[in-house]
Symmetry: C2
Subunit: 302 residues, 2 copies
DNA sequence: AAAATAGTGTCTGTCAGACAGTATATC
DNA sequence: GATATACTGTCTGACAGACACTATTTT
């Protein structure tokens, strides 16, 4: 804050006698869902391009509670930093990567969500390109791993009558680690109720296999918000791409985030004004090589 | 959380010896921007419809810091409640209104934002219909008042070259109280920088007249997010409407939120499937009365 | 030639923007 | 009849979805 706030003598006295510790206070944490698009699975055919997957970074907990379960990277907020800075710091500590997309994506403070006590979790979403992210490869020594994200939605209930409506969806979240075959999973229900002319949304964890705390709920929430955001603002998806990329890999990133297939011709027509062709090509195998493109920053801010 | 988490003996011991108070903790507050659409100004011509304005509820501070300045309603989070519940409780205490649109709209925890110490503010956005909101009218006795919201944007800088871009906008926020003529105002700059292929947005308060803390920044942020959200998801704007409304008043609500004029014929065509005609009419003056409509809830959840 | 990806051209229906026009109340 | 709001019809251009088509590389 840059503007100057001048204090009276009286106010100075009031503040000096103000005891902020008189009230109960929570611990505040920043948890980060770090997403990236990476190659996934075996490349069994030399001609075929590698399959791509949306990947999430999870960390194995070394201590109680939820010892040996996997959790989102995160940590507690310190008095000398903004929550945003906490997230940035944790992100760097876990990935050695700086300058990536980072946005606040919600707050989770339900009573009893952490057995250690009153802990409020600020959730952040970070997006980074797979090349940068892969530099700190996941080895057995390092307790952080990239998991392929799978999300399936099943409709449980859908009722709309007169002035009220109720929708229940069950999401099956599965997180798979490529090399070890390790698999984390969860079922989370989404309850949408429309009553008194207002919508109330609530999530409930039904099952949670090896995922710590309420992080399955948090991951679901982040994935759904990202998807919704990307529908209208496609600048976001570019944050998953390296400096130069093929139009095919950009399309794959969109498809993974939006969770639907796109028609190539239409996608290219729409995206064309946001990219600039470079003189480079990607030589990827037994077929015609594709041109590399970069962002057209000026169009982003037309 | 409904699933059961079973603890080992070892874990129980760990948790019993865990001292959460060993670390510094912040106070966590929920501040709410409560918006509503109400009639505004004198009705000088009996034929003309009342002018409408977007109104924000502000509270005059009785104590230091920022004594006699105006602030967003809010309060501290208690250990037995979710931050969301804090917001709902505060909302009810200030307005006597329940069951309205309420959503988390950001977190403000900059170091030094509150002279009392380390206080993190969770910002919520609440929307309610003007009829409900006006029930607790603003009297002189009550220190809460509805202010008409004015927001003007001026472009300070716009540079995009090669791989980086910089945009600076200055927003002039003015809050006017109809009866007393009381006026609060602020100038807040928005810095958008695009570097290393990622966007960073930052707000800075340049002036703040009678608005407490960093609330001018918070209000700006809430208004801009609401506007952006309403562009694509127009369910939100309906939360500003009573059970029955004229299409004209709905259009005015959209225009106030989106801050742009809409063409009536096009607006009606677009909105028609989301409303149902009722048998009632609004008799408003020396001209053809308009039909009253209600929400078509089933279409909201098609 | 076969296989695979790269990339283009065009038809079609929908929909938003613009605007002119008609309808119906009260004073 | 004047005034003000209520409400409708239709032209236009842009654009998204669908899909058939051509191009280019390696094995």
């Amino acid at each position: 804050m840059s503007f100057v706030y001048t204090m009276s003598e009286e106010e100075r006295e009031y503040l000096d006698s103000y005891d902020i510790t008189a009230f109960d206070r929570p611990s505040v944490a920043a948890d980060i869902a770090i997403l990236s698009v990476m190659d996934h699975g075996e490349r069994n055919n030399f001609r075929k391009l590698p399959r791509k997957a949306l990947k999430l970074l999870m960390i194995k907990r070394a201590t109680y509670p939820y010892k040996d379960c996997w959790a989102l990277p995160g940590g507690f907020c310190r008095p000398d930093e903004d929550v945003y800075e906490t997230a940035k710091r944790e992100l760097y500590e876990e990935t050695n990567v700086e300058n990536v997309y980072l946005s606040h994506a919600g707050i989770f403070g339900e009573v009893g969500r952490d057995p250690r006590g009153w802990i409020i979790s600020n959730t952040f979403l970070a997006l980074m390109d797979g090349e940068k992210a892969a530099l700190r490869a996941d080895t057995d020594a390092w307790e952080a791993k990239w998991f392929s994200v799978g999300l399936v939605c099943r409709e449980i209930k859908k009722e709309a009558s007169g002035d009220s409506a109720e929708l229940v969806n069950e999401y099956e979240l599965s997180l798979e680690h490529d090399l070890s075959g390790l698999c984390l999973s969860a079922k989370v229900r989404e309850y949408k109720e429309y009553r008194d002319y207002h919508e109330v949304v609530r999530y409930e964890i039904m099952e949670s296999e090896n995922i710590a705390f309420d992080h399955a709920k948090i991951i679901l929430h982040v994935l759904l918000s990202l998807r919704k955001n990307a529908e209208t603002d496609f600048k976001t998806v570019f944050d998953l791409m390296p400096e130069m990329f093929t139009l095919n890999s950009l399309q794959k990133a969109f498809e993974l985030v939006l969770d639907k297939e796109l028609l190539t011709a239409n996608f290219r027509r729409k995206i064309m004004e946001y990219v600039i062709e470079t003189d480079f090509v990607a030589e990827t195998g037994g077929h015609r090589p594709s041109k590399l493109f970069k962002r057209n920053v000026e169009r982003f801010y037309k």
